[in-house]
Symmetry: C2
Subunit: 237 residues, 2 copies
């Protein structure tokens, strides 16, 4: 099944230019055919193609279906972007595939990357959403200072994962409570969070965790953390 | 900490050429300095450098230490290689990082890739082992037909993950018994295992599983499966 992405399909009743081109020029879909369209907000539409305009193919919606995501916890992964953008792009694809609601690039003291262009990450997330047959696109925030995340973003459970063994941590797999409504986890850069940053997070109620005895790269840690929520949720389902 | 890889260090008392070059030419390590060397078989050596020959730097072993892996279950991931080799390389890096003992590329009926050169995957595994400070290198097998794996490779628990919903499956997270001594999981190609292949595996005692309701790419499924073993083991530790 091919899904086309049209975030405003209900208002415009048209496929955006790149999707229209793919549908008409590449796949040579003919007017009158049925196509599946997702809006990235959790809805899937069965649409009938009205014309073959490759710039803004018009459709009529025949069916609208709210797609229940495969996971029920609202998951936010806040991660210090890696120096190598390939690794961030890979992470965005994989988080979208296994299921995440929000990705926040975190600016912290030891960040290897202080700026990030999120347009390409958004394109990768759209492609992974389509490929994995989801209807919900993860929100990708612009670079956000750690302090803002700690003070402004609320969740039922809030975790910070770091490497510094001198500040006690518990195992994420044991601390996470299955089925909680919303969760956020902070993942630091290769150089780890600064002790001052860890202290601030703990002072405002974050739970200090480790992902185990393995030394993981930043992007691997972010994926393993998100996967931990899914697996613990599955165990109690 | 930088680890040099020398699989035969105890016999040769020399770093192999590429490691010697890195040690002497790039890092400009001087004779008399201490260097850490791993053999990929679970041992870490503290060695004193005797000369600065960039082709086969000689050392004397001052300390030998058996490194206990962070996981106790012997894990084999048998996976149908993806068409795109980048995805197999990425998977090899990530499996090595999170911890795996054996990676077997599986040849099956719907395989997108019928041949694979494993030399590059081995180099990637070595680099990931060094980077994640492990001392044990996963074994990487050449391409192996599914039937040989099913008949020849033994493990305490044997799983096959597939997508076909018409052949009943259980959730891997619930079926895997924490702390089992050895486990193998089979992960099929994008086009899934053939029903005949599934039947043969089940007939010889494989447990049919799903990784959840998400549609995952082959390499993502392989990583998530391996991670599931680690997380369930952690819960019972």
């Amino acid at each position: 099944m091919i899904q086309f992405y049209a975030p405003d399909i209900e208002q415009t009743l048209q496929l955006p230019e790149d999707e229209a081109r793919h549908c008409i020029k590449v796949l040579r879909t003919r007017p009158g055919s049925l196509v599946e369209v997702i809006d990235g907000k959790g809805n899937r539409f069965t649409c009938r193609l009205l014309d073959d305009n490759p710039r803004h193919a018009s459709v009529v919606i025949e069916e609208r279906c709210a797609v229940t995501p495969a996971w029920s916890t609202h998951i936010t992964v806040a991660v210090a972007p890696t120096k190598n953008m390939d690794r961030m792009e890979w992470l965005t694809e994989k988080l979208t595939e296994i299921g995440v609601n929000r990705i926040i690039p975190v600016l912290c003291r030891h960040s290897e990357r202080k700026e990030i262009k999120i347009e390409r990450l958004q394109r990768i997330a759209i492609s992974a959403m389509k490929q994995s047959l989801k209807a919900q696109l993860p929100e990708i925030y612009p670079m956000t200072p750690l302090r803002h995340i700690v003070t402004d973003i609320d969740a039922d459970m809030r975790f910070i994962a770091y490497c510094d063994p001198s500040i006690p941590r518990k195992l994420l797999a044991k601390e996470y409570k299955p089925g909680c409504k919303s969760v956020i986890i902070l993942i630091g850069p290769e150089g780890d969070f600064d002790p001052e940053e860890i202290k601030e997070s703990l002072d405002s109620g974050y739970i200090p965790v480790t992902l185990g005895d393995n030394r993981l790269r930043t992007e691997t840690a972010a994926l393993v953390a998100c996967d931990t929520f899914h697996i613990i949720n599955q165990l109690k389902s």
